[in-house]
């Protein structure tokens, strides 16, 4: 039996401010099996990004419990790595100094981990940029460097908060392919938040559809095997892809 990488038990989140309180997430429960790729989709404001912040340990739930590999999440866990929409590269550091940022924050920046980071950079086709500065790179390359920085800490759970949404279509497809290739063979669980339905279908094993304000889990959709097996680009031309897209679209559009 597959173990759960992540388990949410009646997790809710209410943001408090001086003026009022806003409930972003109604109590929600889900399980994410280890090694799977799961996407959260839904209209803006339905609490998808809140879930990632909770899992990353950046904020704590108002009620309920989140368990990562059966341990409650209290603070940012070293088993998790988080990738944002913005690449957040440090312009005054070279690429090689940028990709080891997470390692040095965690006190793991040694020769072995740094050479693994360089290996990952090569896997994403950017070995030649090692001593360049971020300002010399294109948007797609910068985001690939950010992906290397995210992977360099060798996480067991990868959190992706709309990582490709700032990129143009071509770069987005390219990065999706690279991501799938990198994840293949590594026993990594991935949690993607996106409002790009095509991206969710092309990458995921399971799609969790959210909606409403405060956000609730509306539906859980298993992506058919033939789409899962195909690469992100090939998946888009599968016959089942369109019908699944339309189904998701309707689910999200209904208020």
């Amino acid at each position: 039996m597959a173990t759960n990488a992540l388990e949410a038990i009646d997790v809710s989140k209410t943001y408090l401010s001086r003026q009022d309180q806003v409930t972003a997430l109604a109590p929600i429960s889900f399980r994410i099996p280890s090694g799977s790729f799961v996407s959260f989709v839904g209209a803006s404001g339905c609490g998808k990004s809140t879930i990632l912040s909770l899992v990353a340990g950046l904020i704590s739930p108002t009620s309920g419990e989140l368990r990562l590999f059966d341990e409650p999440i209290k603070r940012p866990s070293p088993r998790i790595s988080y990738m944002l929409q913005q690449d957040c590269l440090l312009d005054w550091r070279t690429v090689s100094e940028n990709i080891t940022l997470g390692l040095s924050f965690r006190g793991q920046n040694n020769t072995k981990s740094a050479s693994h980071a360089r290996y990952l950079l090569g896997e994403l086709g950017l070995s030649h940029t090692l001593n360049q500065y971020p300002s010399q790179l294109s948007g797609g390359m910068r985001q690939r460097v950010a992906l290397v920085r995210t992977l360099a800490v060798q996480p067991e759970l990868l959190l992706l908060d709309e990582p490709f949404s700032a990129l143009d279509y071509q770069n987005k497809l390219h990065l999706e392919e690279l991501l799938v290739n990198v994840l293949q063979g590594r026993k990594m669980t991935a949690l993607l938040v996106t409002h790009d339905l095509e991206e969710a279908i092309a990458l995921s094993d399971t799609i969790l559809v959210m909606g409403g304000r405060p956000g609730v889990l509306r539906r859980i959709i298993e992506v058919p095997g033939e789409i899962r097996k195909a690469s992100p680009l090939a998946a888009r031309s599968q016959p089942a892809f369109r019908s699944l897209f339309n189904e998701l679209w309707k689910e999200i559009e209904t208020p």
């Binding site: 950046l58 312009d91 997470g102 924050f105 500065y133």
Partner: protein
């Protein structure tokens, strides 16, 4: 046949059109420089002519030739360079110490959001206050000397630097906070690795502003206490009604202040060569 000067103006051209374009561009640059020099000559010449012909009273306005005479006389006998050296030293000391302590204070405030809230009204009051009014206070506590003058330059720069740099610290995108915290970084690590280096351009911008402010502090300080320095020469010249001395001091101050600004500008280019232009 292409004349020599036009070949020189078109140097580095990759095609005849490019050559034409470069010639136009460089001719314009050339005329800008010529016009600048002409304007300077016009001003100085007009001044000289007006004071000689009696249009302007040379006793009130001095004259360029007398200022030059005075300059030679003072460099050989009066120790003008000593005065320049003292004032420049005070200014450099003032703006470096003022900027550095402003940055340090901003870092301290950033480290403790509570302290930041507590000190906020004090900073606002101190910032609104005309710092030169503190002059007498410095003289009675530090004494009438270099100390008070540098203190004046620091007083005039430190608060505004603190406010500007603290704002810069706070304006670093929250995404960087999320990134660092998700990697388990402490607040200290976040500051030293991301926030502080991200704000170095703002610190250099503050340095540029502070060069000008420090000159104000030092000159006012010298007005109040000094027995030497360019500010003292201005006050002395004014008191004995030697307007040539006042003008000479003003010209030297303008020159030194510009030089310092150019140096800080070059420093900025050197330090920020890897940073993106847009931000």
């Amino acid at each position: 046949m292409i004349p020599r000067w036009s070949r020189w103006l078109a140097r580095g051209a990759q095609s005849p059109i490019h050559a034409n374009y470069l010639i136009q561009l460089r001719l314009r640059d050339f005329w800008v420089i010529i016009s600048r020099i002409a304007l300077l000559i016009l001003i100085l010449g007009g001044w000289e002519w007006a004071t000689r012909s009696g249009w302007l009273d040379p006793f009130l306005f001095g004259s360029p030739s007398k200022i030059v005479d005075l300059f030679w006389q003072m460099t050989s006998t009066g120790g003008l360079f000593r005065d320049i050296g003292i004032t420049t030293f005070e200014t450099i000391g003032g703006f470096i110490l003022g900027t550095a302590s402003g940055v340090a204070l901003a870092s301290l405030i950033w480290a403790s959001p509570f302290l930041s809230r507590v000190l906020d009204p004090y900073l606002v009051v101190l910032n609104s206050m005309p710092k030169v009014a503190l002059g007498p206070l410095f003289i009675v506590t530090i004494g009438a000397g270099y100390g008070s003058i540098i203190a004046m330059a620091i007083a005039i720069t430190i608060i505004i630097t603190t406010l500007v740099i603290h704002t810069a610290f706070q304006n670093v995108s929250p995404d960087y906070h999320r990134l660092a915290r998700s990697f388990g970084a402490s607040r200290r690590q976040l500051f030293t690795t991301i926030i502080f280096p991200a704000c170095i351009p703002d610190m250099i911008a503050a340095l540029k502003v502070n060069v000008g402010l420090a000159w104000v502090g030092v000159i006012v300080g010298e007005f109040l206490v000094a027995k030497e320095g360019l500010g003292y020469l201005i006050i002395y010249g004014f008191q004995v009604f030697n307007l040539n001395l006042v003008m000479l001091s003003l010209l030297i101050i303008a020159l030194c202040a510009t030089l310092m600004y150019i140096i800080v500008n070059a420093l900025e280019k050197r330090l920020l060569r890897h940073r993106q232009l847009e931000n």
